[in-house]
């Protein structure tokens, strides 16, 4: 429950008084899934999820920096282990306006194929729902009024659920990115889904997790390992971001 406390406190110290919605977007955080000893899913031909995700993330970073002029921060820029809470903390410490986690999928079924985009779902209990309602009504206060030395359990829990204040924006971002992936990749469109992914729960900005294609599927593994496909994935996500930012006005 308190695992994201560090990220929360860091955000509490750094966050400006303005609300998240009003804050101008300056920084995009890209999260290449897995890394180091944690390889992620493995392909039949020996390709590892951690290497594919890093390659795509670097291409996406280059695109955004070249044409959008935003600062891009990667949660890792080489093959190293990064804890899940540090990935969220990177976003929060840099006051990120968007968080995009890049993954390659894996199933127990070799035939499983396609691309999908996730945003967070919470396994909401009644208690969680009450906290969520509080969070939605008080998200402005959260960023300006938390005493960093506070050890209030409720505040810790709320920070652990920070992403819940951004669910609607995350849903819209997921729709737009998935639309571009569908248009560009020629993979099966598995759609937009919600899942309780750990890396998204503590991120205090719109956040999505892109499952580019299945590394467990031999055909898609070979695509994922190719420069051409990686470029297309990066381009599709980049376009999705562009539409999202335009819509924000």
């Amino acid at each position: 429950m308190h695992s994201l406390a560090a990220a929360a406190l860091a955000l509490a110290v750094l966050a400006p008084a303005a609300t998240a919605q009003e804050r101008p977007l300056r920084t995009v955080v890209i999260d290449p899934g897995h890394g180091g000893l944690e390889t992620g899913a493995k392909g039949r031909f020996g390709n590892l999820e951690k290497d594919i995700t890093l390659a795509i993330s670097l291409k996406l970073k280059a695109l955004i920096e070249k044409d959008m002029g935003f600062e891009v921060v990667l949660t890792r820029d080489r093959d190293v282990d990064v804890s899940i809470e540090n990935r969220a903390a990177t976003a929060n410490n840099h006051k990120a306006g968007l968080f995009i986690s890049i993954h390659a999928n894996g199933s127990v079924q070799r035939k499983a194929a396609g691309s999908e985009t996730f945003f967070l779902s919470l396994n909401a209990t009644d208690e969680d729902t009450r906290r969520l309602a509080y969070l939605e009504n008080n998200s402005n206060e959260l960023q300006s009024r938390i005493d960093p030395s506070s050890s209030d359990d409720l505040m810790m829990i709320l920070w652990d659920m920070a992403q819940n204040a951004y669910i609607k924006q995350s849903s819209r971002l997921a729709d737009l990115v998935q639309g571009e992936l569908d248009a560009m990749l020629g993979t099966r469109n598995r759609g937009v889904k919600q899942a309780p992914f750990r890396v998204l729960t503590g991120v205090a900005c719109p956040a999505i997790l892109v499952e580019t294609a299945f590394i467990s599927n031999p055909d898609e593994e070979q695509k994922l390992a190719s420069d051409d496909f990686q470029n297309k994935v990066a381009e599709a996500i980049y376009r999705g971001l562009g539409v999202f930012l335009k819509g924000k006005g």
């Binding site: 897995h34 899940i84 993954h103 894996g106 127990v108 919470l122 209990t125 467990s216």
Partner: protein, 198 residues
């Protein structure tokens, strides 16, 4: 002669004491060995039983298990397991069947070698399932596989056992952040039947 006799006696004494020593060792080995057997048997009774077909008059019950089909959805499969005594016993058997695999050609969502160490159901409806380390060590999960593993377990327990409303997953008796880097294990899971084939 006397010296020789003395020497003979002491040889006999030596032989006797050697024999006594061998006997003592045998006795020790007998008792400790027996103790070892007892310990081993005790341990075995605490290991989840291999699934066995209900024999003779033993009561059976039908459970619905969730395996992964070709469309990558969870496919329902019914199976008989020995009934009782407690819901937690039946739950452990149902999950052991989930690991053992499909009889209709589908894939198990749990890695081979995974054992259910314990299932504990509290009065407020939370089932805590403790899996052996194989659930994390014997597979490199992608998101889809990880979601299938978690929700096959959660859906199996909640749909078969009315006493279970939510499920917590442990590995080797300890809380874990995720199985393979994706699905958050820190909160109790409600069932999600959206992954189930219609």
């Amino acid at each position: 002669m006397a010296d020789k006799n003395k020497g003979g006696i002491s040889k006999q004494a030596l032989l006797l004491s050697a024999l006594a020593l061998v006997l003592l060792v045998l006795v020790i080995v007998f008792f400790t060995g027996g103790g070892g057997e007892k310990v081993k048997r005790f341990v075995e009774t605490n290991v989840p039983q291999e699934p066995v077909a209900p024999a003779g008059k033993a009561a059976a019950r039908t459970v619905t298990l969730f395996f992964v089909d070709e469309d990558d959805l969870l496919h329902k499969e019914t199976r008989e397991i020995p009934a009782g005594p407690a819901a937690s016993d039946e739950a452990a058997r149902a999950l052991a069947e989930l690991v053992r695999g499909s009889e209709e050609g589908f894939s198990s969502p749990l890695p081979p070698g995974t054992r259910v160490r314990q299932v504990f159901v509290t009065k407020d409806g939370v089932a805590t399932v403790d899996f052996s380390r194989e659930i994390v060590e014997n597979f490199s999960y992608g998101s889809t596989a990880e979601l299938a593993a978690v929700y096959a377990v959660v859906d199996t327990l909640v749909s078969n056992f009315p006493a279970v409303k939510r499920v917590v997953l442990l590995v080797e008796g300890a809380e874990r952040e995720t199985l393979g880097g994706h699905v958050d294990l820190s909160r109790a899971f409600l069932p999600d039947y959206s992954l189930v084939a219609k």
